[in-house]
Symmetry: C2
Subunit: 338 residues, 2 copies
DNA sequence: AGTAATAGGTTTAGCGATTAACCTTTCTTA
DNA sequence: TAAGAAAGGTTAATCGCTAAACCTATTACT
């Protein structure tokens, strides 16, 4: 069942059918239009997207590229990624585009993919540091990065106020009377959003004259629950009298709490914990996790807004949009001032 | 940059280049092959998938169709869906296919999509009861349903032992000395996996002479955290002295616990709760949620195995594969027998 | 009335691959 | 040594759709 069949069924040319389908009504009389439409409906005909894309040189496909940490840990296993992907899918669907979902270890893998499918645009999740440049050089399609730190690169990035996130996290704990702070952070921060958060945290400590030393008081942890549990125990074994620990993702906070609890520590009575992301899961647990809140829907909306503006012709857009954040207060931080 | 360019650069015909790309080496001399390959590499050429698909009548695309409950609640918001999608994406990628992710309210929406993209196969997540038939009638591509109950339809379904799940859930609670049981279940069970789980639950109760009445002791709840919180409160307000409540999904169990706690109930001391799905999140909370365990990776592997067998020519496969399940014991059920 | 514009088409040349059919050489083999 | 097969290509049709160019009546305008 193809255009040609419909055309001959209706006794018109393929061009006419094509015009009907694509809404070029000024080239088709009301009468023919209705006839063709009826036949299309009756024969349950659906145009072949591949052929159309080939002819129009556009695919209506949007790539969504998500990183994974290692082979055992899945990308959507991290609820943060899952939420962002969900929000993006919804947004893309609303624009009548389609999502091609792809998970990658190294973002470079994605380049051949995107160019051969000639997707109309792509979202990149997660930090891709240096690879950003390589991606940009190799393919030239509208793309929006999410949570990527790449100053100097002329890209569109949508993230959060990372520096302020770290700053608020520390300030909040300090405000609750905590003076011995530990920070759990992904390894190998280098440059990037993690580095910004760390810096915010450091500056807040310095500002309040808190004796926090990154070498001594920070604990390295990949963003998996399992690893975080061990880190939680390490914190106890370190025996440094921390009263609060800050993490840079909720999933890590969950693990840390578990590790602490396994060592007989009560949260927040003995040690307080603050997360980062404000996942719905924060509400599921006891104590409910206090976290740095960001709005996924907002992020997706912003990112989508930029992407579709670029698709609509506005090339070389260059913005670094940061979502304002706030502390979402729950129960995992004890107030020592009272 | 297209086949033709490469061909003229290499001084051969497009057919030869095509043969090189597709590995039909017996039609190309070693020498030409190397020359062409070099040029392809140097010019960074990637074949256009749309054109290839059109010519070969296969897309290397796999549709992943996920239902959503309502407009506010996203499909990947439910970690269960997120995990399945993650496992499927990984599997599809391993087979060198691509995932087209689509979320739908009514699965019928998907029909035009699948036929116009002429995907090579599709996975359908979630219960699609009657729509199964309509889908099957309208499109004829390899497809595998996940967690779908449609006896009589010649489909491939991969699920779990739902009946046994409900049965085990009840038996476990009963074994721990509970006699006053409540069941939280999605509304409008009709036929389907939910109905099976209910039946298993009922039969287990009957077998142990437990006075459980579906009309009196079951609470209707859509699978969202928010609704589940209310239901948790309802259970308390019903004032029927339940000592344990079983749910048919973890996410609902999380909400129910929250609702109970909000009413001053201690879990599991006053009321025990058992979940269903065994999400990683079960470990994140206090008390850790006892749940009915299923293996996502297993499901994806099985489903993928079937789908690719069908794609490889084995049409009219018809199986209803059920994954064995077990109770994953944690801390949310109190043992009353001691 | 004569010309221009418009409405409503049709023809046909792509889009970028694949592939069947065909064409030379060169190598086997009876 | 003549016929057949194999190696290594090329040509051209085709996949299903789009869109520019072209055609032919009508209708509009001055």
């Amino acid at each position: 069942m193809n255009l040609k069949t419909i055309a001959s069924l209706a006794g018109v040319s393929t061009a006419t059918v094509s015009n009907v389908i694509n809404g070029n009504f000024h080239k088709v009389s009301e009468e023919t239009r209705l006839r063709v439409e009826k036949i299309i409906r009756d024969s349950n005909y659906k145009p072949n997207v591949m052929a159309r894309s080939l002819a129009k040189k556009e695919s209506h496909l949007i790539g969504v590229v998500v990183p994974y940490l290692d082979k055992t840990e899945d990308f959507l296993t991290n609820p943060y990624n899952a939420h962002i992907v969900a929000a993006l899918e919804r947004l893309v669907r609303r624009h009548d585009y389609y999502v091609m979902l792809r998970c990658v270890g190294d973002p470079r893998e994605i380049i051949p993919l995107l160019s051969s499918w000639n997707v109309d645009g792509a979202f990149f999740l997660g930090v891709f540091k240096d690879e950003v440049r390589e991606i940009r050089q190799t393919i030239d399609i509208p793309m929006v990065f999410i949570d990527t730190y790449a100053p100097g690169e002329k890209i569109v990035n949508v993230g959060i106020e990372d520096y302020r996130g770290g700053y608020l996290s520390a300030k909040y704990l300090i405000g609750k009377g905590h003076r011995k702070l530990a920070l759990v952070t992904p390894p190998d921060a280098g440059e990037g959003v993690i580095r910004e958060r760390q810096q915010g945290f450091l500056d807040a400590c310095k500002e309040s004259n808190i004796d926090f030393n990154l070498n001594r008081d920070s604990f390295s942890c990949v963003s998996t629950y399992r690893n975080a549990v061990e880190v939680g125990q390490d914190i106890v074994f370190s025996n440094r009298g921390y009263t609060a620990v800050a993490t840079l993702s909720d999933i890590v906070a969950f693990g840390v709490i578990e590790g602490l609890v396994q060592c007989g520590i009560r949260v927040p009575h003995d040690i307080s914990v603050i997360g980062f992301d404000n996942l719905p899961d924060c509400d599921f647990m006891t104590p409910k996790l206090t976290s740095i809140a960001q709005d996924y829907e907002w992020k997706a909306e912003k990112a989508g807004g930029f992407l579709f503006r670029m698709i609509d012709g506005e090339r070389d857009l260059h913005v670094d949009e940061r979502q304002p954040i706030r502390v979402m207060e729950r129960q995992s931080v004890r107030d020592l001032t009272q």
